[in-house]
């Protein structure tokens, strides 16, 4: 409450501009201040149906809170993420429903392939316009990486699933089914439009001698920890790479009881792709960092790394110095590969660098029937970016299908 009052209620607020889904931040904060917490949550949901998970997983330091005007007066930014979480938790704890706009049911059908944030946001927005939507996901539980990927300490599986259920309650049908390349022709006949929200593929493999055993995929490790299917890792763990996934995998290993967890990165701290606050978090959890090392072989619980450096030409070169690191388990976290094979089977869709090429404002691909968004389009960003993509694609789809814009409220 004190925090909600601290917000200045900026006009055309920069925090709102910085949010990919443009949640009207001062509006929801002032509703908390006035004691209208349910209204606050509803106004958030209007902009972002996955606001509950976003409030937990968003890197707010580089988003809304990063652009709060309080920085300019040398004050702490308003804790927007915390306030949003307060409103959304209150919403779900009270068992409230996502409000559905008054509109006619339309005889239009859209398939959303993939059940992650991008598809769910697209589906929810389409339902608001009265479109009939079916979401297809190949995994046991829907929610995509919200359910299986994002670190457990940020977002629990149950918190991801309650949002999935809330979206289902607006009339979105969710089917557990893998859509194969061979299904697409039938889908094109059956549906008026198809949204691709399939995310990225598997983690890149670590190609080193001895890497056939003692290696665990970072996503499998995180998913296993989250869902409770994995209860322990080894005593010593080496995570390869230094992105946010590497950090999550290293922290999950620590929490699964590993004594020594190293992050091995072939460059220095300046080049890591993890956010600064994620790095700080890992340090706090006791994760150690080994910079300028590249794994070259794995021998019976020992990871052999070569020293690396940058030469005059600016290229990364591997030196002669060797370091041995005890590692019962090695976890490569060197990026997810695109689902290139599957996506390339969709005829008439343009690709670049393994990403589906779309019109950013509408999510339209080069094939009139297909729209796309999320990680498979942006190469792997954040949940909120996937939600924003999904929402824009939904508007692109309704516009393409000639649905009149329905007023909010």
């Amino acid at each position: 409450m004190v925090e909600a009052n601290r917000c200045l209620n900026c006009f055309d607020a920069p925090c709102t501009a910085a949010c990919p889904t443009h949640i009207d931040v001062p509006r929801f904060i002032k509703k908390i201040a006035s004691g209208n917490v349910a209204g606050s949550a509803r106004s958030i949901l209007e902009a972002n149906v996955l606001a509950g998970s976003c409030a937990r997983v968003c890197p707010v330091e580089v988003l809304c809170e990063g652009s709060c005007v309080m920085h300019h007066r040398a004050e702490k930014p308003i804790m927007i993420g915390r306030l949003q979480r307060y409103a959304m938790d209150n919403f779900y704890e009270r068992g409230l429903q996502i409000p559905v706009r008054q509109r006619p049911e339309l005889p239009l059908r859209v398939a959303c392939i993939g059940g992650g944030p991008a598809s769910l946001a697209c589906a929810a927005e389409l339902r608001q316009a009265g479109v009939q939507v079916t979401v297809f996901d190949k995994r046991d539980l829907a929610g995509g990486l919200n359910t299986y990927g994002v670190a457990e300490y940020k977002l629990r599986v149950s918190e991801s699933l309650r949002e999935v259920e809330a979206i289902q309650a607006t009339g979105v049908e969710i089917l557990q089914r893998e859509v194969g390349c061979e299904d697409l022709a039938a889908f094109e006949r059956e549906f008026d439009a198809i949204f691709l929200g399939v995310g990225l593929g598997e983690m890149h493999r670590l190609r080193i001698p001895g890497g056939e055993t003692g290696v665990m995929d970072a996503l499998d490790l995180i998913a296993g920890y989250k869902t409770g299917e994995i209860l322990s890792v080894g005593r010593t763990v080496a995570v390869i790479g230094c992105g946010n996934t590497a950090i999550d995998a290293a922290v999950a290993s620590k929490r699964l009881g590993a004594d020594e967890v190293h992050i091995v990165y072939r460059r220095g701290p300046e080049e890591m792709s993890a956010f600064g606050f994620e790095y700080e978090h890992a340090l706090q959890e006791g994760v150690k960092f080994l910079w300028w090392r590249q794994p070259i072989a794995l021998e019976a619980g020992t990871l052999i790394c070569a020293a690396t450096s940058i030469n005059e030409a600016g290229d990364l070169v591997v030196g002669d110095m060797r370091t041995e690191l005890a590692a019962e388990v090695v976890v490569p976290a060197i990026g997810q590969s695109p689902l290139a094979e599957w996506l390339s089977s969709v005829k008439g869709i343009q690709f670049a660098k393994g990403r589906v090429v779309v019109d950013r404002a509408t999510g339209a691909t080069s094939h009139a029937k297909y729209f796309a968004g999320g990680d498979c389009v942006n190469g792997g960003r954040e949940v909120v970016d996937a939600v924003a993509d999904g929402k824009r694609a939904a508007r692109g789809i309704t516009a393409a299908l000639g649905v009149m814009e329905v007023a909010h409220g």
């Binding site: 990919p20 007066r73 970016d385």
Partner: protein, 466 residues
């Protein structure tokens, strides 16, 4: 070092800071602790035939996260026997002979009862008497308090009764619950009062519980009209004290009350002519200790201004309050934004558009267009543009570093610009700006001789005659 000593209607005071008649002055033990903390005087919690109070008694108005911007009470006068209060007055005076102890009195409107009460209070050793004609609740039903304070004839009559026997100075405490406070002030003066104190609390209902539909404070499902005080009432008190002190038929030594909590508040009341100031709510909120900075801050300020005594600046602001018709119509100021301080909240922009004269624009980047308001981007157009913009999470590796910081801390596009030709100099933007000194009002020479409304209409009158 400036001296805070003062003589108020003949009462010697070590400083002008008195406690108002209220819970902080309920008993001798409290008052002695207050004197130890630095208070120069205390007006005893109103003495009279003991009453019974209700529970609960107080409610408040909180504002934007701040507690007790205004306090409301439905408490009556002292609930302690008269003789206990008087014995304690004697005790306090014996131990603190240099501190002012004023007995606040309220008894039945009968001459003999008042005579008796006055004599007993003076016998106990009080330095002065304050007649409580102000309590807005409870006592009126019994023909006391504001029932007396709202009828000039009664106020004058009771003051006269008191003056018939009083040997010490008599202060009349005025109620603000009247259209023109000067009417009762004049009556008190006619009745022979030596001094005034103002204001007592203002009739109020602070709020209603939206679950029980009962106003606060809730006494078993019902409430009653209360008396409002605290920071919220200061402007009202300042206005009333000023109007009494500017009226020769009303003016007497004034002990100012209402929303005083700091030395700044005190200085302001002294500037409109007060002799001493009294404090209640601020002490109920933070305790007696607040007087330390009131003394320190006021002395410091007087030193800086070169005032050796309170008399050096008492009433200095009185001549600066005038009627509207005497204000200079040819004085013009315009708003100026200090770009280096601006944080880009755009509150001034929306305030001027929705609440003033549509002349603060967010067009520094698109290029300023001076002229009629219609050519500028309207506020909602800016909002729509934002809502339709595409923003992404910046990933260190994937995205170029954020735009390099510009000349100022806020992005240029968010620093508004004042169209000075259209600005009417209303001050609104400078009042809403959350950054101190960021928007200042600058005088622009009008090139015209000063002219008041009175002068202008007089001139027009002459023209018409020609």
């Amino acid at each position: 070092m400036a001296s805070l000593k003062t003589t108020f209607a003949g009462i010697e005071c070590i400083n002008p800071f008195w406690l108002a008649s209220a819970p902080p002055t309920n008993c001798g033990e409290q008052i002695m602790r207050a004197f130890d903390a630095g208070w120069g005087g205390a007006v005893w919690k109103t003495i009279g035939e003991p009453i019974t109070n209700v529970s609960s008694r107080y409610s408040s108005v909180d504002w934007a996260g701040q507690r007790m911007m205004g306090l409301n009470n439905i408490e009556l006068i002292s609930d302690r026997p008269i003789e206990v209060n008087l014995a304690e007055i004697a005790e306090v005076k014996r131990r603190y002979p240099k501190h002012a102890v004023i007995a606040s009195l309220m008894v039945e409107s009968r001459r003999d009862v008042w005579h008796e009460m006055v004599k007993r209070a003076e016998d106990a050793g009080s330095d002065g008497l304050e007649l409580n004609f102000g309590c807005p609740h409870g006592m009126s039903e019994r023909g006391m308090g504001s029932a007396v304070g709202q009828v000039p004839e009664y106020a004058q009559m009771i003051t006269e009764w008191v003056k018939e026997v009083a040997c010490t100075p008599v202060l009349v405490k005025l109620t603000p619950n009247i259209t023109d406070i000067r009417v009762v002030a004049r009556a008190a003066k006619l009745g022979g009062a030596d001094a005034l104190s103002a204001i007592n609390t203002i009739n109020s209902i602070t709020g209603i519980d939206l679950d029980t539909f009962t106003p606060r404070p809730n006494v078993d499902g019902k409430s009653s009209h209360g008396g409002y005080c605290g920071p919220a009432v200061k402007p009202i008190a300042l206005n009333m004290v000023q109007s009494v002190m500017a009226d020769p038929a009303s003016a007497l030594p004034m002990s100012a009350i209402g929303g005083i909590g700091t030395w700044r508040d005190a200085a302001e009341f002294l500037l409109v002519g007060a002799g001493t100031v009294q404090v209640c709510t601020a002490v109920m909120h933070y305790g007696y200790r607040i007087v330390e900075d009131m003394i320190d801050g006021l002395s410091q300020w007087m030193d800086e201004k070169g005032f050796a005594t309170l008399d050096d600046f008492r009433g200095l602001s009185l001549p600066r309050v005038t009627e509207w018709k005497h204000l200079n119509l040819n004085y013009k100021i315009v708003a100026q934004i200090d770009e280096s301080l601006c944080i880009g909240c755009d509150l001034c922009h929306i305030a001027c558009w929705d609440g003033a004269h549509q002349c603060i624009h967010t067009d520094r980047v698109t290029g300023p267009v001076d002229g009629h308001v219609e050519v500028h981007r309207k506020p909602m157009e800016a909002v729509h543009a934002t809502m339709n913009s595409i923003a992404v999470t910046r990933i260190p590796k994937m995205d170029p570093p954020a735009v390099s910081p510009g000349l100022y801390k806020a992005p240029l596009a968010r620093i508004p610009r004042v169209d000075e030709t259209e600005c009417v100099g209303c001050n609104l933007c400078s009042l809403v700006c959350p950054v101190e000194d960021c928007i200042t009002m600058k005088e622009v020479p009008a090139g015209l001789a000063p002219e008041t409304w009175e002068e202008r209409t007089a001139k027009l009158g002459i023209v018409e005659q020609c």
